[in-house]
């Protein structure tokens, strides 16, 4: 039995090898460079720990990621709820609404936001028609968040929907007949049961928002860098591979910490987190 199995398993080797050599090795190289470049030692982490610009960049990245996660969760929840409680046809249509932009170029979408949010863009043209002063949005964190959340929505909606469709639709009714008004039935029964989806979605969205490069680079300000943009600058412009490596390590530590935190929260709350990657 086991020999037969390992023979079929050979089929997985080319892909595993490609990911190992073509993905894991490069990632490992930059991580290792954080302690070897320009010379062996911990100087790059000392820079990370003491440099105020580096601090700003890290805090800003976390701040933006938290905000992006919260905003996306708040917007995705009603959308997912509508999907989960609609007929199959309506659900499929809404699914396409979520999935189409998921596969539409990130670049094109950033570009579209530039046209809309710039000084003489669509938004200010419309506002001007109502006699409202033009707003400066492009080049601010607001623009970055608008663009990021739009891209992140599917990652939040899909895990939420997959949990919500599993909730017995009679449970809120059961609560109602036992005397709970609509909002209580929702808050005490439906909402807690949908939380695993909210957590799974938030986990994915938070991790993804730590790695956004294109959107902040195009919609944000160069003076308000996030980790990925700083990493880019350090390596390609300042040729400081070590500092870039340290930023990479910091990002992966954050990713790991979030995983751990969520795992602990889920454990305490007794929530089973299903296939996290399922939504992808």
């Amino acid at each position: 039995m086991s020999t037969k199995q390992s023979r079929t398993a050979v089929l997985a080797w080319p892909a595993l090898l490609l990911v190992a050599l073509g993905f894991i090795v490069p990632v490992a190289i930059i991580l290792v460079m954080s302690v070897t470049d320009p010379q062996p030692g911990t100087q790059n982490f000392e820079w990370l720990a003491t440099n105020s610009t580096a601090h700003d960049i890290m805090w800003r990245t976390i701040y933006i990621a938290v905000l992006a996660t919260l905003i996306t969760a708040v917007l995705a929840y009603p959308f997912a709820y509508l999907m989960a409680t609609s007929s199959t046809l309506v659900r499929s249509i809404l699914m396409v609404v979520v999935l189409l932009p998921f596969w539409t170029s990130m670049m094109v979408r950033a570009f579209a936001w530039i046209i809309i949010l710039q000084k003489n863009g669509l938004l200010n043209t419309v506002l001007g028609a109502f006699g409202i002063e033009p707003l400066t949005i492009l080049g601010t964190n607001t623009a970055v968040l608008i663009g990021m959340c739009q891209i992140l929505m599917p990652f939040m909606v899909l895990p939420m929907v997959s949990v919500m469709v599993g909730i017995d639709s009679r449970l809120p009714l059961a609560a109602r007949i036992m005397g709970a008004p609509k909002w209580k039935a929702f808050l005490q029964v439906y909402f807690p049961l949908s939380l695993p989806g909210v957590f799974a979605g938030s986990l994915i969205v938070f991790i993804l928002s730590l790695g956004f490069y294109v959107t902040p680079a195009l919609l944000g300000s160069p003076r308000q860098q996030l980790i990925p943009n700083a990493l880019f600058t350090q390596v390609l412009e300042l040729l400081s591979w070590g500092k870039g490596g340290a930023l990479a390590v910091a990002t992966l530590v954050m990713v790991g910490a979030v995983f751990l935190l969520l795992f602990l929260v889920a454990k305490v709350m007794g929530i089973k987190i299903g296939k996290i990657g399922g939504g992808l």
């Binding site: 059961a174 036992m178 005397g179 709970a180």
Partner: protein, 367 residues
Amino acid sequence: MSTQVIGAALSLRDIGKQFGTVTAAADVNLDVEPGEFISLLGPSGSGKTTTLNMIAGFEEPSGGRIMINEKDITDIPIHRRNIGMVFQGYALFPHMTVEKNVEYPLKQHGFDKPERKRATDEALAKVSLEKYGARMPAQLSGGQQQRVALARAIAYKPPLLLMDEPLSALDKALREGLQTEIRRIHRDLGTTVVYVTHDQDEAMALSDRIVVFNEGRIQQIGTPNELYKNPSNEFVSQFLGESIHLDGLIEEQGSGHEFVRDDFRLPTEVDHRGPAQLMIRPESVELISASSAEQSGPTVAAEIIDKVYVGHSVKYMVSCRGGGGVVRSRQTDVDDFTIGQEVLLTWEAARSRILPLATSAKNGEES
């Protein structure tokens, strides 16, 4: 013993429900006495569940009024109807412990903490689950979950308790045990129960009265005995257990009427002319060999087409001209007949019932 509840009186006045062009229920009129145990019985899609959902408030009736204790509740929101309910498949809150589940309705109805604790314990004791309060529903067996659902529904002693096929997910042995338990709880509590089921044995075993539904309409309302003995139409007679049906005609005969076939005629009270059916329950029929001469009542020639041993009796499937059905022998020792044999069916005329066909509903398909 705990305090008794005053059961609510429930009245349905011309209730109907239309889903687009589909009529799920129509002309439903029903009066349930306080403390009565009433079953809504029928095949799936007969309108019984729709009716229950309208009482609960899950569906809005397309027409008609629903009254509890003379008070019109048709437009009252679900949570203020003061009803208890046991759902099909239980609908226990999976994220709450057994205790929290049972406590939930008490909390919603504003009971204070000590009172909640007392009532929760009492309800769990009633279903013998006092030791399971801290468990999660998923850690319980099907039968235990069912009992938690029951405890949750009775915890705040609602004057009206709705039960939607509560036992359908359980196996036969468990089902019978729980039937006894439900009957006992109903007796103890004194609440009015409306019980939906598609299982006629269950309805017979539990109910004070049964409401038989078919194709969205009430077919008959009566005690189990009345329905079995005096079904008002073919659907009711077939749905409530096995029977033999024989086609014939009702003709005027002098001052009265007679049910007429080639092989026998029987006087009847039914004031009607035209096609009719004679219905007999299997245990009322006697099989005698075709040659036998001892005939006290009407006889019909039939052929035995199948034979099944059921516990201490034998079930014969018989076929005769213009009808057929099942005959049950009284003891196993009446095992004299073989498949294919020609026999005579005989019965006491008073045990049979004649149903005019014109007034009977469209032939109900048995589910």
